[in-house]
């Protein structure tokens, strides 16, 4: 990990700042590592590490009840952990934004990532969440910004899938 940070990863932080996000909840993923570090260093954003992604769905709803905007970061394997909790969003029409880093779709080494990665988009759509996918680094900021508008201005539920190709190949050798 470490090394150089891609511009789109810094863009994510900039867009969340501009969107006045007050809480960022996450189960960590390498693709979100830079954003998590930036959020942790920002006194105006509370970072909340979760034991499972569904906590973040309920937490985001609670934040909104109290007038604060929250975003949930996860990898695609976490989508399945959330399915029943997503019903909270639709039952109450809570605004919701998830940024999902994809696994199981590009130069994937671990076959166990395949099934949930392949089902992530459909699982979210089945639960009433609009899904946008980004595969071009230059489009990340615009699409995430659009998702924040849809959620917090129109009350919608949106997930942005960040393609595994954005992250490149995972290095499996440890030095």
């Amino acid at each position: 990990m470490g090394g150089e940070v891609a511009q789109w990863q810094e863009d994510l932080y900039r867009v969340l700042k501009a969107g006045r996000i007050g809480q960022v909840a996450y189960v960590p993923d390498a693709g979100h590592a830079h954003l998590i570090r930036r959020v942790q260093a920002d006194p105006d954003i509370r970072d909340i590490v979760l034991t499972t992604e569904e906590e973040g769905v309920a937490l985001a709803a609670g934040a909104w009840l109290g007038g604060q905007r929250a975003v949930l970061l996860m990898q695609s394997s976490g989508v399945g952990n959330c399915v029943n909790m997503f019903s909270l969003l639709r039952s109450c029409r809570f605004p919701f934004v998830a940024l999902v880093t994809m696994r199981g779709e590009y130069a994937e080494f671990n076959p166990w990532q395949g099934p949930m990665g392949r089902g992530s988009q459909e699982a979210m759509e089945l639960m009433g969440i609009a899904v946008h996918r980004v595969s071009e680094p230059g489009a990340v900021a615009e699409v995430v910004s659009a998702a924040l508008d849809a959620a917090f201005l129109a009350g919608d539920r949106v997930a942005v899938l960040l393609s595994q190709s954005l992250l490149g190949r995972k290095k499996w050798e440890r030095k």
Partner: protein
Amino acid sequence: MSAKATVERRAFVARLMGGIPDALVVTGLGSPAYDVFAAGDRDASFYLWGAMGGAAPMGLGLALAQPGKPVVVITGDGEMLMGMGSLATIGAQRPVNLTIVVLDNGHYGETGMQPSHTSLGTSLVTVAKGCGIEDAFPVDRLEGADDVARRVNARDGTAFAVVTIAAEEPPRALPARDGVYLKNRFRAKLGLPPF
């Protein structure tokens, strides 16, 4: 467990709610929602009708968003067990204005009174302490509601109360089930617009 003194749930919740007029309240689904509603409906009470396991993390998000107000989660043992990982998440944040009250009858009351894990070996007080919530304590008397209310109003640390209640089923008292309505009236109470 059966040797412990037990508290009547409706009386306990009514006494607690009476002592926390300014609290923002989130309930778990089922009987705790009915108990809170029976104590008197409030705009700042949000009743879950589903999302099992979500009451505590929802209370966490609310407590972080509203640090100047006391936030109380009132839920049951089954609902808390499903969201037990959220105690670790809360233990990592420890907002001073969050109190969780578990009404523990050791059973899944809504589905036919099957014994839950708290009848079969799990101590939620021990779990909470193990998650870093040091102010976790059992309550086995009605008067304990006053002590819980005092902690809620003091907003001086995350607190976790497990109230040993009798496995009884008082008459149903059903709050509104329209989630959008519950959300918008709650937000309006805080001066926030709908959505």
